[in-house]
Symmetry: D3
Subunit: 136 residues, 6 copies
């Protein structure tokens, strides 16, 4: 059983706002992130899959297929987008790093065949990241 | 004569669009960056000043003052902003990394007292950066 | 259940010495780290908390509060200090990276409210780090 | 119980080829990595050991001994080598990152005395790494 | 006048050997790098171009064209190759980082149109790099 | 003419104090760095030499000799030391990053034979560094 992790990057913008909060609550809880014009990040995504090593190839997963799934299911959807306006999950949900990690898990998990998704890690900045393991 | 460089980071969003280009030209020249909703980056700024070392302090510049100038003149203006909509220079100019480096130079240069501004470097991503030395 | 990690840095000095060891043992076991004048590091601290995502904010923890606790309980105490002389835990304990990670856990764990402390990671250099999960 | 990780680097070359595959299969599955002349990487190795902190030294493991074991059992064998031609495990096995992580575990695990091996992580590039915990 | 730098990576293997040296000289001068099986690196390439900013696009150079030139003239030739055996310059020249930087300059310089090549930087490892400015 | 840069690291402690300043001036100008117990950093040193490439070796400088000079003249003197107390230059001079860069230049420049010293860069933290080119 080995765990293989592939990194990728995407650039997106977002802002934090809960329409059920008052303006004062939004400002207090979300601070500068509440600016409705949005601001952006170079997100780094780490996708970890686990499985046994195929003795014929030496691979736990076909890296080309993993790359294709990550591109099609995640990067093509998120890269160079304003998350709140253009990504379905975030039309009704706040695009925090926590919610991004969960959304990326939900997009990837049903599409991975050979290997099992183990962890999604999302860095919003080099100093802040979130891990999601699919735990309820 | 020594050169001292201080790094800082800011997160902002932008998009690339020239109203004098046709839609087709904007799409061809700017690609994904032409999305009017904007996308974002964690920019890294490096500011380099040069000067003689003050023998009493061992400093070429008072770091606290340099930090204050960088915060007041640059970071407070750019951080968590949509550059095209909220930063004066980019209401009429395209916020490319090139133009950002020049704008930051123009904001900092008149405000630095003791030491002389030598270079402004702006990283848009870890793989792309622009240097400006104030050369015409 | 998500895991959120915030990084911070502090600069401190320390040395390694056990008064119950002979001079020869201290020299052999601790090498260059035994120099009583001390030497220093730019430590990097990673604090990981875990919990459910609050559906109203999208946060597992209020980042501002996490930052305040980390500053008050850890960084204000350790930053720009000689650990052996100025930090209570290390008046009687050797300030190895192992003991630093445990001390930081013990400082943070009782002060975190909403989310649960999961891991403290301390990098002494980019090539050496210690993880503590609160395990006895 | 703490976990201590030490990083090290080695430079090696390799290529991917399974003599039981057809030429077409080797090309399709391994792509550019199938070039029999080999290509190379700056590998980064992270070795994590776990154990209790010795109250006399403050160490979970004698770092000098850990370094010596890593050098003798791993780095001296792999560094500046063509893995397929010069390292016993890879005369008959494909030197993928997965198989490298397992081979390094098997070399280190029997040689570590005081502390227990917890994880071997191998980065082939900054964007691809494999973890092995000794799990069957 | 601004300077724009784009980074890229390639993986290659090489070894150092001068057929005019004795075996003893090759061993003494080149050490572990003299192993004829080769060893490898993840090279990082930084290409810097300089020029005026085009006021219509805000660009000093069309990044897509720069990327295409770098891929076609450099990366497609060097990536996943054994430099001594597969790259024309190094059939007769030792593929040191110095010679690599010069060879990359000579490949790129005649192909860049709009902007002027200013510097080629090649990292062999994170701790060793060479700059070439086209100076005789 | 090429420029070759080699990086190295050292860990040291220091504090800032000018005996000709009043206590209030020392506190105001040097802030937390004025703590006489000292604090520390993982310094990163970059040494750049320039010269022509020797056509027989492909080297601008014998890397082993450069490494030996850097170790003997700089790292053995500064690593794991309290700069103010143990390094001659800083018994009478404040060990700022500026003064460190100049002192390292003065130690290296007379000892380098084949190649010419071009630049000394010292990082005190990842966000602050000083360059010295030997300019008066």
């Amino acid at each position: 059983m080995v765990y293989l992790t592939r990194k990728a990057e995407f650039s997106a913008s977002h802002y934090y706002h809960n329409p059920q909060f008052t303006a004062e609550e939004n400002a207090r809880i979300f601070g500068k992130c509440n600016n409705p014009n949005g601001h952006g990040h170079n997100y780094t995504l780490e996708v970890t899959v686990k499985g046994a090593v195929d003795p014929r190839s030496g691979f736990v997963v076909d890296l080309k297929k993993l790359k294709d799934v990550m591109n099609r299911e995640v990067l093509d959807v998120l890269d160079h987008r304003f998350l709140n306006k253009e990504v379905p999950e975030f039309l009704t949900q706040i695009p925090t790093t926590e919610n991004l990690a969960i959304a990326i898990w939900q997009r990837l998990e049903p599409k991975l065949k050979a290997a099992q998704l183990h962890r999604v890690r999302v860095y919003e900045t080099p100093d802040l990241f979130v891990d999601f393991y699919g735990e309820a």
